[in-house]
Assembly symmetry: D2
Homo-oligomer: 424 residues x 4
């Protein structure tokens, strides 16, 4: 087992790994079940991928990183899939270009499901003995967490695709909205001084969460809950989108170039928004989502506050159970915070929270060895860290040290914000 | 019946119109039969449209221009289809933007086929009485010819789509290549002096073929057959794609910008080409196709010749029966000319022939009245005329006066060339 | 003297050629006199060139095509100028890219004037003997006409540049506007039947005006004068720019993409326009100018008319003296027609007139031999013919057969229109 | 004096402020002295500005932020200059768009120099009394430092402009190269633990250097000198530009899209580079410069090292005198380190050093009040910090806490790198 692999902790028994794997693999297929072959094939923008591609790429990941190396005699399903379904691993070889993923009508969805079955069968055989060494076991574990990431992308990509259709179709039926009002936002004091940040080594983590290291926090306060739709509506009403002084320079250029005047998926009337359940009334008490970093940052400035750093966020989040409105709740949309809570609310689930932290390497960071080193490290430039997971994140996927990252201009993820400020 | 409609001659009896219509409508569905729902949904470039869109738009054409006006009580299949499936009739209303046609995964292919059935049933009812007045009868006829145009586009668009896939799938199985050699090209003298050009009023024609008018031809010669693949290979071998003096200025810019060095669909080895039957050996004796106007013009200059004008072409083509390798032959690819013929060969079918004529209005041209006036006239700028039909054109669709038109840069149609020269 | 050179008729005596040449060369320098070194250096768009480049390129033309071949012992002024000041003659060699012409601050304007003097001196020596053979004499003549074309471009390019400055500076002081009203437009009958078109061989012509050939004209009428500003204002007031049915498809796309709602240089109030004399009141009686072909075509459709073909135009223009408001009048802006005239007015000068004719080769056209063959022929695609010259054209430069050509989208030239219609 | 202004410490006496100001203002004019009016007018890319614009904008800065508010009766030089020469202060009002700065040929260079004189005279009057209150005094000081930044940009922008000319002109004559070899690079241990970072309040600083705050450093080493040209040549020879595993994802995309294979201004032979003195041999011992962040980062990865964080850099730089090869040395190009030194070399001057730190707000950062708040804060996204100044930086302009910032893709500044690594 290579040093660089040590961050992937294999579960205790191959049996339970096989069970977990099976559950994850089946879940991806289940998420694609409401989709027609057409829905699964089309790519709505270069940032997004077709559902069929997610189904295939997550299988390729196991095929390339596990089966090809660790399953003697494994026969690849198709000789060109290595090219077609490699995402961005240049050290693996040339790949089909990302903006062209939606042009691949053949192989069909059906064939891709057969591809999945082929890979699953080989994985079952490999894991069947119950005696998988740490290196391949670690890679299987990585593949499961990798697949969970694509489960979330599958949902956000389908949402984006359906939003392009003039008919605004629904992916699924949503739960009825909760009839609550948002709790007033309160300020909760963060602990200043030196804190430990990063993954502590118990259980799985991506390489970018390591190594655990010390960070220095100043006096600061965090909002008790994310910013709500009602609050964001106030920002709009107050001319937020037409006040350059509130915006980062690149943000203001984007506002002008794209004509932004509201969150992605909000309708012009600011009353309805497009959801995975089709057009729905905007719930004023629910956390605002589908914000770019630029919008989150502008809102914070307007509110006289700032965004939390990822260290501040992680220090606070470590004190809270990892529970919330994840994809497994089937809400598939942020919901208002429960009332009457006394502590930090909605830290996990509902909506990712933009932090003030650019996505960079932790001190002493070492990427995984080999091609897997391309997984996270090479994106450490130009992107911002988001924390906490969303209503589209599989339960069990995130943890306090989990670092998500997107470009400041992107907003098709479930991305919202929590306010922070200096002082006590 | 409005004056502007007079160019559409309705067949003698509503019965036979109903039969013709049924045949055309069924043929479109048959052409789409080899396609999966995914194949039918994706758009490979802004110039192309999804097969599903072709299926829907041709139905919308009847719905809007025939049923809505002439079938009392007709209920539109879906209120948004007027928006979704209008192509470019601005006077009808706003429309879904062309480059976004491929984003519409819903309605599904199945729903579009139901839409077609709905429209077909209404058309059957309308035509059932056998007593359709000239105006709606003329519009039904126009709709049939319109649909035939989309049948050809459906094939060329699918070919383009399949060419984007690294797997290079086949739409159908092609006939085995003919084992012939190309006839030597001979020069056939064209008749100089004043000739009559344009549609003579017997049977259907598009408005852009009218009015019939006099044109003045000089002394000229036409090649007995189109340029062959073998001949075009000589042009390449002689450095045709790297000799700026052979090219129009805009053509040379395109060669540099796009890196063109061979016809579309030819493989790098110049031995194979992508066809509707997948990768096939290039038949040296068959007409070269998938050329842009720029390439056809450069080849002609290299050969010391020129392209024919559309008047020269039409004058000659009027002396030849309208027969050839059309889509009905199921070759779906150009084939070598028959040997031993003494006259002009392959005037019709196999490959469209670029002419030297910019697509302009004939003297005295009047577009159809109303929104149908947008059908042809508004494209009379920047495009070049092609004549004769191709292996993807339905038999019976073209005639000597038929004017096809594309931008000089486009080459995803079956577009080739025939040489011409001055003198005797 | 090569056959292809025969279209360039050398003047009778070398003496008078030297005198003409001197006059043309001095005029270019005089046109640049009001410009600062900065004005002469900057390029406002890829279509335009810096005045300094015009000064240099016209000298390079003589250097390359006359002195290098016909002046034994001529020493090039600078070894890199062949690269820097070649415009588009690929057969001559690589060239500095057009959009980068404005980046060349050195050589300075002063050095370019020295370059001109160097070339002029060599030309004087060459022409001094009075015994120049026809071939070089023809090339000198071509160079003079070439330089006159750049004199007009120098003015239109400077106008475009100055229009980019928020200070809207003036190139020169304009004449006061004439206090006339526009004559009512009358219809003048054109002569139908076969006519001779193209240059008749007496005096100089460009290759694209040849060969003289027969053309067939139908019954048609031409407007007595160009469309006026007042008339174009009516088109705007009637919603011309927001009525898609009036526009060619590519024209309407341009209107939407560029936000066009008035001629280039008209101010938003439709009362003032930017001229070579700075901001001026729009003279309602003067011909409208700075129209694209798309706008001219849309206006004609709105007026229930059409544009003349170039054959119709030339047939009529041949009956009228070549006189008008050329650059030598120093008005440098279109002026109202004289009142009381009974025949065609403003055929020459004031504003170029868009015709309905795509720029193509005449039957039997042969470009000049060698690199000079790139002068005109390679642009015969995608452009439209304009006729008659403008207020920026040097007097003596145009003739009835003169063919100017621009893309239908371009409008920084002095380009307007005259109406035509079918019938009698 | 507002709180937010407190970071601008006014010098002790107005007299000395006037003297300093005069010196800075004269220096800008002196830097432009080798430029022709043409050189000073043209803009070579949207990132760069014309020298004339730098001359004007720095004057506008004093006009708007000092004279308009603090010099009663001051008359603006020209009413449109507020629009023309505002750079990016949206809260001040609309501005001439950055990519159009090069289109302004009028006002001329001469007029801009008159504008400068007008502003200088008013500033002299204002400062003449020797009794300027802290607020305007602080703004004058800020304006001086602002002008020094533009002095550096003027040089890098001119270098970029001259590099576009096929003639590769020289701005000035450079010093002859030093005949030294590069010292071997040694590792110097940085001090781990908590350190104080940011400006300490003595003398001037920009707002982005504040507030001074604690930072936590791990065990680390810094290279004794910047990476040399010879070392960078090894990276190229080893296939650095064709090894995707060495690059950040966005960096690799840039390499492919731009065809990068060497530092900006290096010639294809890797032997010569374009400098402010024209083409020169690359000095192997001199620091490499004109690297993007992507190239610096890739080099560091190739070398098995990393870039220093800005805290590491600042902690080390604080121990070293602020001296080096600044613009005042007139070398205007990086030069080899002096030999025999035992400590950190070339920390200041020669070439800016990319750090691993994204440009963000320090904890507790507050931008200046009012429009001056747009100076620095709004750029805190997507850019990387550079430290130490360069051969184009005015002596006296930088300090240990000085933070420069550019996008990772930019490389027209004098930007190089120093290696760092973890451990001891």
């Amino acid at each position: 087992m290579s040093t660089s692999m040590s961050v992937i902790s294999a579960p205790g028994a191959a049996d339970s790994l096989a069970t977990s794997l099976r559950r994850v693999r089946q879940r991806t297929v289940a998420l694609a079940a409401p989709l027609s072959a057409e829905d699964a094939c089309v790519q709505s923008m270069p940032d997004a991928s077709p559902a069929k591609w997610h189904l295939a790429h997550t299988s390729w990941f196991f095929e390339h990183f596990v089966l090809a190396e660790h399953a003697p005699g494994y026969a690849a399903f198709h000789p060109r899939f290595e090219y077609l379904f490699n995402s961005y691993y240049y050290t693996v070889g040339q790949m089909h270009l990302r903006p062209r993923r939606g042009l691949v009508t053949r192989p069909s969805l059906e064939e891709i499901l057969a591809y999945r079955a082929h890979v699953d069968a080989a994985l079952e055989r490999l894991l069947g003995d119950g005696d998988l060494p740490p290196e391949p076991a670690g890679r299987v574990t990585l593949g499961m967490h990798h697949e969970q990431q694509h489960q979330e992308l599958l949902l956000t990509d389908i949402k984006h695709l359906f939003a392009q259709s003039p008919l605004l179709p629904a992916y699924t039926e949503l739960l009825p909205p909760a009839a609550t009002e948002a709790e007033p936002q309160r300020w909760i004091r963060g602990k200043p001084g030196i804190t430990e940040i990063g993954h502590d080594g118990s259980g799985f983590a991506f390489d970018n969460e390591t190594p655990r290291h010390r960070a220095l926090l100043g006096e600061h306060m965090l909002a008790s809950r994310p910013v709500s739709n009602a609050e964001f509506r106030e920002f709009i009403a107050d001319g937020g989108y037409s006040t350059p002084a509130l915006w980062l320079s690149d943000g203001w250029s984007t506002v002008l170039a794209e004509g932004w005047d509201r969150p992605l998926y909000w309708q012009e009337d600011l009353e309805q928004e497009f959801t995975l359940g089709g057009l729905q009334a905007i719930d004023p008490a629910a956390p605002v989502t589908h914000l770019s970093y630029f919008e989150a940052d502008a809102f914070a400035r307007w509110a006289g506050c700032r965004l939390p750093t990822e260290s501040e966020w992680e220090a606070a989040a470590s004190t809270v159970p990892v529970a919330g409105n994840f994809a497994d709740s089937r809400a598939l949309h942020p919901r208002p915070a429960a009332t009457g809570a006394s502590e930090l609310q909605q830290v996990y689930g509902d909506t990712w929270e933009w932090t003030a932290s650019p996505y960079s390497a932790y001190p002493g960071f070492r990427p995984l060895a080999g091609s897997l080193g391309e997984y996270n490290g090479k994106f450490m430039c130009g992107q911002m860290v988001l924390r906490g997971g969303s209503c589209a994140t599989p339960a069990g996927h995130v943890r306090p040290s989990y670092r998500n990252f997107f470009y400041p201009v992107q907003r098709w993820q479930f991305s919202g914000m929590r306010l922070a400020r200096d002082g006590t």
